[in-house]
Chain length 483, copies 2
């Protein structure tokens, strides 16, 4: 009855790549956090009354309010009878009509083109042109179900369907966002880790790229380099010069450029600015401006934080025409990305303009969210750095801090005894004692012998302060306990 | 400048599985149809004024109206200020509140659990229990971005990451919905085609399953059988006895059951009824009721036709606990399916009840759509059968007809001269002369030497009649021309 012998799928017979993949952002510690939530609901007594999910960049879950313009446009697209209501500004109505005009049958419920509605791709291209000062072609825009889906589709093109030395190698930063390692594992590709330099603010050093690719060459065929800018989990923002170096390295090594730029609106540090890979590559001129590049963007981050709508897009340039045709064909199998998520993207890339009725409110809502994030970014790194045994680089951008914990020798031994890595041991203890759910650094990878965790900076300021005070007490006790 | 030598990706160096995959529903004929639409817009003179896209089951695109209850609930979830409006019934408001209560931060913009919101999975399980008369556990429900996404996730578990005789073999019906062949190609798995019997109403004969698996065994490791019921593109509806036979065959051969049941609301033929694989397997009792089964459902078909929202779910039963854990882990990488699509599903599986304010309108809208589809199903097959050289099985269910064309010898020669398959030649001629876009049978595969095309039955009745009159004239001319 139900023994392994009866089953088609067992751990031994199922896809080993699925067993291999790990996605720490929703890993074991999050499973435990959910269990604790249920224990609390069932009346269990704990040193805290609720779990704080600082494990995931889930903006609205932590109290950020949706942007009014976005939701008004979506509501009208969803239920067009509201176009006759007096309760909505004219620019909202005009935008909803424009989106519905692009939908077959005037309904968000019809399939769009597999690359997304053309009217919206035109708005995206216009946004990119204005951002970069270089042309963007709607034909090169491919909308997707969140950036993750777009990243998988592009990475899929790069696979070789071969093993050993001919396996596709993908360079990824360490620490990295675990979508990359998970997708590489799922695809049976070969990860080529390059380390960001924590001592110099998570800088991306070309000498390290060279070391990494040289070591990997005997084991794979290097095909692409992933750069996350602004960084996740590291929060660094690359300078234009640094991006130039990476582009030149990729050219020398004949690598496809994959630029994860989903945090392009999230830059806080004074003097820092977001430069897109596309812009820098264009500025460099020939031959760099003919390099293959995919840049990814999302509706889930920035100031809008509309994670649940699963909106995203890629701009993919300089593909050979027959490869472009294969790429376009490959996405048709998925039919299309969610059309409501596409509508969110349209509102983000083509916001209300000065003089339009929704302009002032939109501007205020956007600036408030970004100003609060900036304040929180500063507060979080300052607090971490004020504690003994913790150091934290400045959170220049994105939505996370990735502090380094000097782990006491006795804590390392206790972790070993518990069968955990020291960073997991630390994060699980933090969760059990304070209800704060973070992600151990091992989920993003880190220099061996160093220990980190990732926390979002998303909770509202009052809550964030309270959370960090609890964190501080925990950390001081932890150090004392394992001194 | 832009030569293949400079590029990372060329047809020779890119993933060969991507080149291999084909998805005819959005294939070359659809590309041509879109070109023709643009030519018409640019003022070109054609024997027709618009293109009729009968290639894809895109309900709202062909004039079907969204169900009011679904869209009202979605509008309120999207823009909760509307909860204070007098313009919406109380049951709509209650449903929207219930869905938002399940969303973190009360927003559709936060991520859900990767398997979907628990409150909605409970409603799905209740729907399945009521449908089948057997328990359903919300833990076994995994929501997805349309059924396609769910099918890929389950099929991924079955891969072996090996080649040759150890490659995973997946049994698929011929004709089939090309998502299956495309996904098998993308995954590098081995398709095991079994033919449905056109002469007996596309029946599924176990002797043919046995032939197919015997022939495939030297080339692969058979792992799963896909059954599409009601059938796409064939429109057949399986009897309970037939499903029992398939289940017993799968048990003998140790195959995972993949039941594509997205058309479960679309049954038209007198005396026909939808039976789920889950129900039949449970009725058979031990050992069948312990078999691994995945059943797929979608928000895109049925009476709702909400394709653009990309809602879907799978019920996956009888996995070993450690395989279940791996499956759950594998979907976390995608974060979550679109939450607005999840809300659509909730309205479908838990519709307004008798006595609630939205009940009568919902019932009327649902029944009207299904009655019209039934009328169109009958009309289409009757018309095809009235024509010389065409035969068409009864459209018992789903949304398509898949008629067989007796291709004149001269037409076969002309197709050969044009470098096309005869069915493509026929469908392209139909498109160029009438503007009607169908899909050649070769996109779904067919018995060699037979020629079919797939057309949806979705256009509104008046348009459908006009379309079929044009089709009739085309077909008569075609036969005369190649006599």
């Amino acid at each position: 009855m139900g023994s392994a012998d009866d089953h088609v799928l067992t751990l031994n017979s199922m896809n080993p790549n699925v067993i291999e993949l790990q996605y720490a952002v929703r890993g074991p510690i999050v499973v435990r956090a959910t269990e604790i939530e249920n224990e609390l609901k069932a009346g269990a007594k704990k040193p805290f009354t609720r779990v704080v999910k600082a494990n995931i960049g889930d903006c609205h879950a932590t109290g950020q309010k949706p942007v009014t313009f976005i939701r008004q446009v979506l509501a009208l697209c969803t239920y067009p009878d509201l176009l006759n209501s007096d309760g909505f500004p004219e620019d909202v109505k005009a935008r909803a009509r424009k989106i519905l005009d692009g939908c077959k049958g005037g309904s968000l419920g019809s399939y769009s083109e597999s690359a997304g509605l053309l009217a919206i791709r035109k708005d995206i291209a216009a946004y990119i042109e204005e951002r970069d000062g270089y042309p963007s072609d709607p034909k090169n825009i491919v909308m997707c179900t969140g950036a993750s889906d777009g990243i998988k589709s592009v990475m899929s093109l790069l696979l070789t369907a071969k093993s050993g030395k001919e396996r596709a190698g993908i360079m990824i930063p360490i620490p990295q966002y675990p979508l990359y390692s998970a997708t590489i594992a799922e695809f049976g590709a070969y990860p080529i880790p390059y380390y960001l330099n924590e001592a110099t603010g998570w800088s991306l050093d070309v000498s390290e790229l060279e070391r990494a690719i040289s070591e990997a060459r005997p084991n794979c065929l290097p095909r692409a380099i992933v750069v996350i800018n602004p960084g996740n989990p590291t929060g660094q923002v690359l300078t234009k010069e640094n991006i130039q170096e990476v582009i030149k390295f990729a050219k020398r090594e004949k690598l496809f450029l994959m630029a994860d730029e989903v945090y392009q609106h999230n830059v806080y540090a004074a003097g820092s600015k977001f430069f897109s890979f596309k812009q820098v590559l264009m500025e460099l001129g020939s031959p760099y401006n003919q390099m293959e590049l995919a840049s990814f963007m999302s509706a889930s981050k920035g100031f809008m934080g509309e994670c649940g709508y699963r909106g995203g897009y890629a701009e993919v340039i300089n593909l050979l025409p027959d490869v472009y045709a294969q790429y376009q064909k490959s996405i048709t199998v998925k039919l299309c990305p969610p059309v409501s998520g596409q509508a969110v993207i349209d509102c983000v890339v083509n916001p209300p303009k000065l003089g339009e009725p929704s302009y002032e409110l939109f501007k205020k809502e956007k600036e408030t969210v970004l100003a609060q994030l900036k304040e929180k970014a500063e507060f979080v790194s300052q607090l971490f750095n004020s504690l003994e045994g913790i150091s934290c680089n400045q959170v220049m951008g994105a939505m996370y801090a990735f502090p380094c914990v000097q782990m006491p020798e006795k804590a390392i031994e206790a972790a070993k005894a518990a069968g955990q890595t020291p960073d997991s041991f630390y994060c699980f203890a933090l969760l059990e004692e304070t209800g704060i759910c973070t992600v151990p650094g091992s989920g993003f990878r880190q220099v061996p012998g160093t220990f980190h965790f990732r926390t979002t900076i998303l909770p509202q300021m009052d809550e964030l302060k309270a959370v960090l005070m609890k964190f501080k007490d925990f950390h001081v006790d932890f150090l004392a306990k394992y001194k």
